[in-house]
Symmetry: C2
Subunit: 417 residues, 2 copies
C-alpha cells in the first residue's frame, strides 16, 4: 500500500476497520486489493426479511444447466448438464441438478398423483401422495448419474469442460418411503423376483429391476434437499435406487408391477443396451461403476494468471458403496499421490477429494484422478475400456480422465491413452 493511498483512505473516514489496519501494519497484497471506500452497502439499509419468502440466489451468480444442441433432435427428449465446476461440496443445488427426460417435464397436480403396486402381489394397492407421506420414511444422500455420462468422450469427442464430460451427475438428500414397506403392505406372491417400474409422463419410460434391489435400499422419494422433489427430477414422486444407473430411477412414477422375469421393454432392448465388439448386446447394467473427475482446475476454471498454490479438487463416486481412495497424478499417470477424502464419506454418494499442488507458469501438466471403492473396484484407462467394450458404446464410461494444463495455464480436455 502506498502512503498516499493509505492516507486517502483514512482521511476519507473509511471507518475504524481500515483505520486500524492503516495504522498498525502494511497491507499484505496488491494495493488494488483494498476495499472500496465506504461501499454503498455498508452505508444503507437493504431489503428486510421475507422480501423473498422463498429465496433466490444473488443476481451476481450465473451458474446454469446447459445442453448440447447437436446431441439430441429436440429438447423434450434430451439432457442438460450440471455445472460441476461451480459446485463446492457434495450437495447439488436442486436448481442445477442435471435433467434427462424423454417426453418433457409433466406438470402433475399432487392431489391427482397416484402410485399403483400390482402384479404378483396379494393385495394390489393404490397410494395417494398423502398416503405415501404418512408411512415410515428415510432420508439418504445419494448421487444420481446418467449412464451416458462421458459417452461423447468414449466416441472420441472432447467436450469443452467438466460440465459436459461429467455433468450428468448430481447428488441430493432424497427422502421417501422404502419399497420394502410398500411391498410388505401389498404382500409378495411366491416366485416374485422382478419388478417393472413405469413413469407417468408421456414417454412412460419403464424398466425391469431385480426385486432384491427394491427390498434392499430402494425408496419412493417425495423429498429432495429438504423440500419437494423438483418437477425436472420427478415431482411429486420418483423411484430412488441408490447406486443404480439414473434411467432406472423412474421419475413421475405411476406403477410398480411385480413379476417373475424381466420385461425386456424397448428401453432395455434398444435404448440402454450396448453393442459389444463381437456383435452381441450387453443388457441390464445396473450399478454405476467407480468414477471420478477433477473439478478444479478444469477447462472452466483455468490457472491463467494464477501460478503458485492450487488445491486440486474433485468428486469421486461408486454405485457399489463408499469411496476408499482417490489418487491424483499431475504427469499423466506416471506418478500418483493419494488425495484427502472429505468427511462424511457416504455410501453411494459423491465424495469430495482435495490435494495441494504447486503450478509453475510455463509448465505443462496432465491432471488425472483415479478412484477406488470399498468393493475394490478401480477406474480403468479409456484404452482398457475400449479394448473390452469396443467403440460403439456410449454408456458406463468410467475411465480415468485427463485435463491438460497448458503452459499459459489454460486447461483443455485431452485423451492421452
Amino acid at each position: 500500500m502506498t502512503a498516499s493511498r493509505r492516507r486517502l483512505l483514512v482521511a476519507a473516514g473509511a471507518g475504524a476497520a481500515l483505520g486500524a489496519a492503516g495504522k498498525g501494519a502494511q497491507a499484505a497484497g496488491n494495493p488494488d486489493n483494498l476495499p472500496p471506500n465506504q461501499p454503498e452497502w455498508s452505508r444503507t439499509l437493504g431489503p428486510g426479511v421475507i422480501e423473498e419468502a422463498y429465496g433466490t440466489r444473488s443476481r451476481h451468480e450465473t451458474a446454469a444447466r446447459r445442453y448440447v444442441p447437436w446431441l439430441t433432435q429436440d429438447r423434450q427428449s434430451s439432457v442438460s448438464f450440471t455445472p460441476l465446476a461451480e459446485m463446492n461440496g457434495i450437495i447439488t443445488p436442486s436448481g442445477l441438478h442435471f435433467e434427462r427426460h424423454h417426453g418433457g417435464v409433466p406438470d402433475i397436480d399432487p392431489s391427482d398423483y397416484r402410485l399403483m403396486i400390482h402384479g404378483m402381489v396379494e393385495r394390489p394397492l393404490v397410494f395417494t401422495l398423502e398416503d405415501l407421506k404418512r408411512l415410515p420414511s428415510v432420508s439418504r444422500i445419494h448421487f444420481l448419474e446418467c449412464p451416458a455420462n462421458g459417452g461423447m468422450e468414449w466416441r472420441g469427442a472432447q467436450m469443452s469442460g467438466v460440465q459436459y464430460t461429467h455433468g450428468m451427475l448430481s447428488c441430493s438428500e432424497w427422502t421417501g418411503v422404502p419399497l420394502k414397506v410398500l411391498l410388505a403392505a401389498a404382500g409378495l406372491r411366491p416366485g416374485a423376483s422382478w419388478v417393472l417400474a413405469e413413469g407417468g409422463d408421456a414417454s412412460h419410460l419403464a424398466r425391469s429391476i431385480p426385486l432384491r434391489k427394491l427390498l434392499d435400499d430402494a425408496f419412493i422419494a417425495f423429498g429432495q434437499n429438504g423440500e419437494a422433489v423438483r418437477p425436472q427430477q420427478g415431482y411429486p414422486a420418483r423411484l430412488v435406487l441408490p447406486g443404480y444407473e439414473g434411467n432406472m430411477w423412474i421419475k413421475w412414477i405411476r406403477r410398480i408391477e411385480v413379476g417373475d422375469r424381466p420385461w425386456f421393454t424397448r428401453w432395455e432392448t434398444r435404448t440402454y443396451a450396448d453393442l459389444m465388439p463381437d456383435g452381441l448386446s450387453r443388457q441390464f447394467t445396473f450399478v454405476n461403476e467407480v468414477n471420478s473427475c477433477i473439478t478444479n482446475p478444469c477447462p472452466e476454471k483455468s490457472l491463467r494468471g494464477r501460478p503458485g498454490f492450487v488445491e486440486i479438487s474433485g468428486l469421486a463416486w461408486s454405485g457399489a458403496g463408499r469411496i476408499a481412495r482417490v489418487d491424483v497424478s499431475v504427469d499423466g499417470g506416471d506418478t500418483w499421490r493419494t488425495a484427502e477424502l472429505q468427511e462424511p464419506v457416504l455410501s453411494k454418494a459423491v465424495t469430495r477429494f482435495r490435494i495441494p499442488w504447486e503450478w509453475q507458469e510455463g509448465r505443462q501438466a496432465f491432471l488425472q484422478s483415479r478412484a477406488m471403492d470399498e468393493a475394490g473396484r478401480v477406474q480403468p484407462t479409456l484404452d482398457t475400456l475400449r479394448r473390452v467394450r469396443g467403440v460403439e458404446s456410449i454408456y458406463h464410461k468410467n475411465s480415468i480422465h485427463t485435463w491438460l494444463v497448458d503452459r499459459d495455464g489454460t486447461v483443455a480436455n485431452v485423451q492421452i491413452d
Copy 2:
C-alpha cells in the same frame, strides 16, 4: 373398487397399467384413490430441458419463510422463520433458510468484496473473494441456530406452530477456507487470544470470539448447499462457527481483528446478554445447547382424519457435538421410548429422529422429545430452565417442548410444566 368403476376405467382405455390391475386384483383402498383417467400429463409432451436453466420448484409447492409482525418494529432488523414442518431430511433448502439481520440484506458485488485480517498479527492481509477461493477449503454440514429460537415461549407466548417455536434453525452444507489457514498466513503475535469479527452491512454487527475457536473448526464460507452463499445468509462470504450461536456467524464479513481480550461491543453488553434473576448479566454464551423438536405431527401437520399409524419425526441438534440419543414421550413425560436416529449422525448438524406410533381418534396425547448429546448434556424442562435463568431471558431456550394432540387430532402448542 366397485365393479362398475373398474369396468369404466378399463373400457375408457386407461392403459395397460390400469388394465392389468383391474384384471388381476382388487384395489386396496378407497375407490377415490384411483388415478385420474388418462391424466393430461400422461398424454402430452411437457417443456424440454433448460426450460429452467436454473430450476425452480413446482407451482404446487408453497412452503415459505414467515415473520411475526408484532415481534419487531420493522423488517430490516427482524427475523423470518424456516417452515420446519415442511422439511423432511436434514438439509434446509437455501431458499427457506431462516433470516436474521439488523440492517437489511446488502447487495454486494463479489468483485468489490474484501476481507481484512489485522490487529495482533505479523502481516495484516486483505483478501479478495478470488483469493479466498484459491486457498484450501473444507465442506461441512452444520446447523445454524439463532439463540432467540424459542424465546417467545420462554416468556409465556405459545406460538401457533413449529415454524415459530423452533424455526430460527436451519442446516446447510457450508464450504470455505479454514480460519487457521488465513491466520497462519497473517501470523499471530504472542498473546493473541480473541478476535473481533465484523460484518460489512450497514449494521456492522461485531462479536468477540475466542481465538481457539477460530483455530479449531471455523471457516470463511463462500459456499452453501453446493452454490454461492445466499444474500440473506451473507453473500459473498460469512463466518461459520460450528456449534456456536448464530449471531456470531458474522455475515457479509469484512474484517477479523486479532486481540488479547474481548471487545464488549454493544451487541455483547446489550443485545446478546441475559438478565439473570439476581440482576447480573450473563454474557458470552457461545455453544448452542442440546435441543430438539417434533416436526410431525405438529400444529401445522395435524392428525385430523388420520387415525392409526403415525411416524413421529423431528430434529435434534447440539453445539457440543453429535446427538447420542433422542427419547420421545406421548404422555407428557411420564414414559419415554428411544427413537431411531437417522444416519448420517454428524457433529454440530441436525439429526433426524423417527419413531412409530399409533394414534387413536378421540384420545389426547402430549408429545415431547428429549435429546442427549455425546457430551452428556440433556434437555431440561422449561420449569428447570426458568428456575435457573429466570423469566427475563429470551436466549438459549432449549427446554423440552410439548405438542398436545387433541381428541379430534388437532395439534396445539402447550406448556405443561
